[in-house]
């Protein structure tokens, strides 16, 4: 078996048994990136020399009997996580020259546990998008192809499209993403892999370029639920540098994957059955419920009455926070600078040149909804609707242990689709946005293919800080679905 085809679990065992070296494992991935990345554009920056050094250090540690959980495991890091000495762009021109002199807490935790970083992955600019089309570093090609229309270039989803494409195409064993409205789960669904958005506060936001601070959730991607559990355990944990970081112990998520789900109550949120839902998405959802029932779970109908208001509320709150967070990019102390006639002109021309269209739109919306006279009508009302959405989940979870829903309203679409109308693109997050607003954990698991051979994910949503149940249910779905199809574009092929 090719080294790039391994799971993290199998690679960990192989490394510990010295069946192959960490250097060989990393080099196999770097060669795969060399071969396939010019086409996929999943990585913005490949840190070849640094990765080889990290792998050699892992080999020395392995030889000394070191058993850290990620020792020698090569990963893809979304270019939103600051990495010491490695350029971090957030997919934006405004950060094109930016090389952090510090490491984000999440990536520092992965390095502490022995991981190797292959490079920084492509993404929608400042994580604003559902297609990776807003990146200043070009679009990413989804490694999956339609059966009927194999020439069409599909998007990997977004915003964490580069990490998802890299993991799917075997250009990394796992990766990191961030989920603000669906940016881990939707690309995981589009690329046929597992993506986990943990509870708000589970993974530190320190050193992650801020988009919408009350909604940004770092989390892992991998090709199996168990691998995702291994990554999350390393990424998570209390961090004094993030005031919203939860000071509670991190459980053994890998152990939770093996839990029996007999007797669990799984809710079906009836408001997720939206008008115009594609038949095959509806059918897959029903199939998922059957699988869980067969595994011994009890299926219960629940109501989350404010679901349809989640996205409109999101598109007030997220741009409002973004307009504030992105005020720091003014061309004065770091990042891109455009010349101006005076200071104000320098600011305005720097931000016009440095931000792409989608980022500009959101900063403008955010500025408007926070401006004098409109704050109460938009921002305050959206925050009240957010309270109602959290209340829906709280009341729903009084009766069930987890919820099952589709991850996205469609399979991967073609590059260029949904680009004419911003609202059409925003609707990609219809099933993922509510869990971000409520801060509850949610995972996408590949569950089947559509008529055109493209992967579709199902989403498990859990109670706050009960990632363990999400992993247990996700693993049960994975076992039942037995999803073993590979994308058309694959390293080593």
């Amino acid at each position: 078996m090719s080294l790039t085809a391994l799971t993290i679990t199998a690679a960990r065992d192989g490394l510990r048994a010295r069946h192959f070296s960490a250097e060989a494992l990393t080099l196999a991935h770097l060669h795969a990136i060399e071969a396939l990345n010019p086409r996929l554009n999943a990585y913005i920056t490949v840190s070849h020399a640094k990765a080889v050094d990290q792998a050699r250090a892992a080999d020395a540690a392995l030889a000394a009997g070191d058993t850290r959980p990620l020792l020698g495991i090569p990963l893809a890091i979304k270019d939103l996580f600051c990495t010491d000495g490695v350029r971090t762009t957030a997919g934006s021109n405004i950060l094109r020259p930016f090389v952090p002199s510090y490491e984000s807490t999440v990536t520092a935790n992965l390095l502490r546990d022995g991981a190797v970083f292959l490079g920084k992955t492509n993404m929608d600019e400042f994580a604003m998008g559902s297609s990776n089309m807003t990146s200043a570093y070009g679009p990413v090609e989804n490694p999956w192809k339609r059966r009927q229309d194999a020439e069409a270039v599909l998007v990997p989803g977004g915003s964490s499209g580069g990490s998802a494409a890299a993991v799917a195409a075997r250009l990394a064993l796992g990766g990191t993403g961030t989920d603000t409205g669906g940016s881990i789960r939707q690309p995981a669904s589009f690329c046929g892999i597992v993506g986990m958005k943990p509870s708000y506060g589970r993974c530190s936001r320190w050193g992650v370029v801020a988009f919408a601070s009350s909604l940004d959730h770092p989390g892992p991607f991998a090709r199996t639920v168990q691998d995702t559990a291994i990554l999350l355990r390393s990424m998570a944990g209390h961090d004094p540098m993030d005031s919203t970081s939860a000071d509670i112990p991190v459980p053994d998520y890998e152990a939770a994957c093996g839990r029996d789900i007999r007797g669990l109550r799984i809710g079906v949120p009836r408001e997720y059955r939206v008008a115009g839902m594609q038949n095959e998405i509806e059918a897959l959802w029903q199939q998922g419920l059957t699988w869980l029932r067969d595994a011994g779970a009890e299926i219960v109908d629940v109501s989350l009455p404010h679901t349809k208001y989640a996205l409109p509320a999101y598109y007030i709150i997220a741009p409002a926070e973004a307009s504030s967070n992105l005020a720091r990019y003014d061309g004065v102390r770091f990042g891109l600078r455009a010349d101006g006639e005076d200071l104000r002109d320098l600011y305005e021309r720097t931000r016009a040149a440095g931000f792409g269209r989608e980022v500009q739109r959101r900063v403008l919306i955010g500025t408007y909804v926070l401006s004098a006279g409109y704050y109460d009508a938009y921002y305050l009302r959206a925050q009240k609707v957010r309270a109602l959405i959290l209340r829906d989940f709280t009341e729903g979870f009084a009766h069930v242990d987890a919820l099952l829903a589709p991850t996205a309203p469609s399979a991967a679409f073609a590059q260029g689709d949904n680009m004419d109308d911003p609202v059409q693109m925003y609707l990609n997050d219809v099933f993922t946005g509510p869990a971000d607003l409520a801060g509850v954990p949610a995972m996408s698991v590949p569950a089947g293919l559509d008529a055109n051979g493209l992967p579709l994910g199902l989403q498990v949503i859990g109670k706050p800080f009960d990632e363990e149940t999400v992993f247990a249910v996700g693993a049960a779905l994975e076992r039942a679905a037995a999803f073993d199809v590979s994308p058309a574009l694959l390293a080593g092929r």
Partner: protein, 95 residues
């Protein structure tokens, strides 16, 4: 509420983003499309509901008000476009 061109210009000025006059109609249409969609929130009865600022229901931690970090000007200035000693050198910002 529908944005007119003057409001688009005012928002862009508040956001410190230079917008070419030729781009105003496109921006106006896009922003009005988004705001029109958002206005469905007006249907929701929010009487007596406290606004939620963040999903985390934790109490923010307090710590001693002491310096815990610093002492590395070269790292801080590593991304500065220009420097003078241990200071940022920037375009004239005071008229």
């Amino acid at each position: 509420m529908s944005l007119d061109p003057a409001t688009v210009r005012r928002i862009a000025a508040l956001a410190r983003i230079h917008v070419e006059e030729a781009d105003i109609p496109r921006l106006q249409a896009e922003l009005n499309g988004i705001l029109g969609w958002i206005e469905q929130l007006d249907e929701v009865n929010v009487d007596g509901i406290e606004p939620l600022t963040a999903a985390a229901t934790m109490v923010l931690k307090m710590r001693e008000d002491v310096v815990t970090d610093g002492g590395y000007p070269d790292k801080i200035l590593a991304n500065a476009p220009d420097r003078a000693g241990d200071f940022y050198a920037v375009p004239k910002v005071v008229e």
